[in-house]
Symmetry: C2
Amino acid sequence: MVGILGKASGVSRGVAVMDFILRIVALIATLASAIAMGTTDESLPFFTQFIRFRAQYDDLPMFTFFVVANAIVSAYLVLSLAISVFHIIRSHAQNSRVVLIFLDTAMLALLTAGASAAAAIVYLAHKGNTRTNWFAICQQFNSFCERTSGSLIGSFGGMVVFVLLILLSAITLSRR
Amino acid sequence: MVGILGKASGVSRGVAVMDFILRIVALIATLASAIAMGTTDESLPFFTQFIRFRAQYDDLPMFTFFVVANAIVSAYLVLSLAISVFHIIRSHAQNSRVVLIFLDTAMLALLTAGASAAAAIVYLAHKGNTRTNWFAICQQFNSFCERTSGSLIGSFGGMVVFVLLILLSAITLSRR
């Protein structure tokens, strides 16, 4: 099959397979991020200064946005696997690749927005800000902070994969 | 010239001209954002509760990141105008378009990260958060808040333009 369609097609198919694998990597990363942040919902009780604190991800709207963004991107990645398989079978498809670049770009923006907003809050939680009197809360909410900080990793990894995916699609389009 | 190279080339050239115009629009938007946020540096003295407050953009590291991100993206857009002109002249160029898609994608991610981190802080400044005891500061720093909120508009506009730029490049590559 590859022999009939020639070398260019073989390269396209190789890129399409890599696209498929990268999408699965991104799916695992974003899904792990969403779950890691989303399950900080489980009560983490602390006893500090005679008050029982309970830290949940949805105490901060940016964390909620982070979970929603990662969930949407994960759902999109599952759906896009179908298009990726279609590209492995029909390596000459053009229009579907353009659509994929557009959707990938939109999802990259959504994922970056979620990760960055959450990162801003995680930074504040760790360092606080004296000028605005926003105090660091990580002394009290230690494991909450660790959990939310860790969940950012998947999202930032997913961003890198998305940039690679867009680059791969562009290379395939130019190599036609 | 267009007649010799045919209709497809004419379309490519039209898209290349649109690319050039969109880059100038994005440049104006991101530069305006950077300047609007960066000049909140000018002292804005308030007298509240017998204390003189001074709000600057670099009181918050996310605002500094916002200015830096917008400045980098603006500088990139100026440089990319040269490639855009090259595409108007040589509408069949392929590799340079792939490079442009890659760089545009990276810049979109940077711009989104800056805008989103700043937006998270602006949201906190307006609404505050009771669970973490981060109080809204916009009652005191009214014009500081207005300025920083307004400067986000350019960045978010720039993001939309970048998505369009990547889409245009992808369409041109597929239409070869």
